[in-house]
Symmetry: C2
Subunit: 204 residues, 2 copies
């Protein structure tokens, strides 16, 4: 079996998603710490792995896979059987819907609001928070009706992809108190065997 | 076989992606025209289909699938065999990488720049154009090395997902002349059997 190397930054929620799935799957890997604040992702050696200049990057054997969503899909398909990413068309579509939410309302809302407050990034905080609230309302509605985002009785990579920046929402100035179904879902994920947290995620 | 209904808006690039794949796959469907400018996506009947209040929505039998990326994955898996969305982990990851680009640099760069100029949406045009240029540079680099975004000798849903807003980039004030490999790729897609365009996409 190929070795796995993860180019990783501890405070990145996108990296945390990957660390979380690796741990839930019980897959061993070698972490390579990259400090994005020091510009390491803009160096030529790193850009050769990922032309977007972002962590995470997973190197599996000789292949570099960039983008957290792509890495989650790779790991799920390679190590998780059909459990984390189903192959049946409708079940797959249900997972993809929430991967899309993780790349849109959650990333451009919740994650960016956090980046403004934590990393002084130059986004409009109110706009990001408004988009972040729309993400939380969407999740609250879905998770009132079912335990896991894509349905069924087990989590999928949709839950992993949405988890990190939702759990980190308070760092972006968005309290989770108004969203009880979301808070119950966070606890369900935190109770999964192999769960790992990260700095900034509170566990109640 | 279930009937397919597509809630569709002609000027939406996200809807065009779905119309394009349906046509490339030779799959029949019933279009339901929704005028997003008239607020039709914010009506209760529509929100019951898609709580995000966005087109496209595909209704397959009794199931409503929202989000263009999820719909592309559904159609590829249901009607396309492994051709448009492979199951092998690394090949799947290569498709997912470019789906992520379609949801990030392309949507928040190219599509938003177009939305500012065409629909008077209140985004920062310069920021959107800068992100749009980063998308075009990323694509140019990839398509200089290979014919299709995810590799191999045939297109995947990654090409379909990235196509529409790249082809529409001039409407966002971004010329395609500096990107010859991107322009060749647009022509390759336009030459596929079943290709359909949309208003605003120029065919040379």
């Amino acid at each position: 079996m190929d070795s796995l190397r993860l180019y990783d930054f501890e405070l990145s929620g996108n990296c945390h998603k990957v660390r979380l799935l690796l741990s839930l799957l019980g897959v061993e890997y070698e972490p390579v710490v990259i400090d994005i604040r020091a510009g390491a992702t803009q160096q030529p050696e790193f850009l050769a792995l990922n032309p977007r200049g972002q962590v995470p990057v997973l190197v599996a054997g000789d292949e570099a896979i960039w983008d957290s969503m792509a890495i989650l899909a790779y790991l799920a398909r390679r190590y998780g059987g059909g459990r984390w990413l189903p192959e049946e068309p409708l079940a797959l579509a249900r997972v993809m819907q929430w991967l899309a939410v993780s790349e849109n309302e959650i990333l451009y809302g919740l994650a960016r609001a956090r980046a403004v407050l934590l990393l002084k990034r130059p986004f409009d905080l109110e706009d990001c928070q408004a988009m972040g609230r729309s993400a939380l309302e969407l999740l609250e509605r879905q998770l009132t009706a079912q335990d896991w985002l894509a349905g069924g009785d087990a989590p999928s990579i949709a839950d992993v992809a949405c988890y990190s920046y939702v759990a980190l929402a308070p760092q972006g100035g968005l309290a989770l108190e108004p969203y009880p179904a979301v808070r119950d879902w966070l606890k369900r994920i935190q109770g999964l065997p192999g769960y790992v947290g990260m700095p900034g995620i509170e566990h109640s």
